[in-house]
Symmetry: C2
Subunit: 186 residues, 2 copies
């Protein structure tokens, strides 16, 4: 689980750089003295400014209640080194165990919200609920990223992408078509 | 652009296997005798059954008008071999050119909708608009996948994952934690 834990600020409009490729993420939350972590694979960028992320959080989960009550969470980006923690976090309910202690993860204070960052992750995106109109119908939350922290290296971390059935794809090679891309696509 | 173009049916509840990892996709549409293709990176799985996909389609685009008018589209999964077509499609507006002809792509008839499949893609997901409540506010469409076609091999195609700035990540190695994953995560 070696990683670069020193983070720098990322402009929130650039969060898409890490989330648009579709990695599995760890969502940390806090409410009334308790804290929790869940895995999440169903999310999408929705806007650059404000920096909006839409995601589905299962309504039966411990995290759902905490995030709905607090209106906050942190979206944390784990690397492939954390795959076993990611799986175990997905297997475990937060109503019976403190997942930070159980899986050797460090809760670090956020700047703008009360929910904790997961220090061992490559990036941490502090989120506030922006629009809850589709929560009841689809468990769909629209968050605004209000502060973003990323490790400066590596530039392209090995991320985990879930295909279902217990199988992950790990991010591979990088190819650039920058010279061929028109600005509005950048 | 060599690929396996013979497709088999995929149960629509299993579409997450291809979309949850976060690939860039090509969205094909048709309306009033015209057809178009756009690139899309902002999408998420929202439900297994019905098979729901949420996605953002820029309101100024030619595709936005066609998809809103027809209430239909096809989400097509290109492989890394199609990267240059993906970039060029993103660079080009469909009001001035037929992108199928321009980029050497084959429009194949869909089973359940009028919009065409892109034959050269690894998978094709026929979609009908399920909920347009967030279109005006966020350009966010919720589609139901009503029919899914996939090439049977390779099992894990090389997909493209956009990081912005003209740079793509290509899907890499596969790691399984199937034995360690509880059924509800599968």
């Amino acid at each position: 689980m070696k990683n670069n834990h020193e983070k720098i600020d990322l402009p929130v409009a650039q969060v898409r750089r890490y989330l648009e490729p579709g990695p599995i993420v760890l969502v940390s939350s806090a409410s009334q003295g308790a804290r929790n972590i869940m895995t999440m694979g169903w999310h999408t960028v929705m806007e650059f400014a404000p920096s909006l992320i839409g995601c589905v959080i299962a309504s039966g989960s411990h995290s759902f209640a905490m995030i709905r009550a607090s209106g906050e969470c942190v979206i944390n980006l784990p690397t492939a080194a954390l795959v076993d923690a990611v799986v175990e976090i997905g297997n475990t309910s937060g109503d019976s165990v403190d997942k930070f202690g159980r899986f050797g993860l460090t809760a670090a204070p956020a700047d703008r919200i009360a929910a904790p960052l997961i220090r061992e992750c490559h990036a941490n995106f502090e989120c506030r609920l922006h629009d809850g109109a589709l929560i009841d119908k689809y468990n769909f939350f629209i968050f605004e990223v209000v502060k973003a922290h990323v490790a400066p290296v590596p530039k392209h971390p090995e991320t985990l992408h879930y295909t279902g059935d217990g199988v992950f794809m790990v991010s591979g090679k990088i190819i650039s078509r920058r010279g061929k891309s028109k600005s509005e696509m950048l």
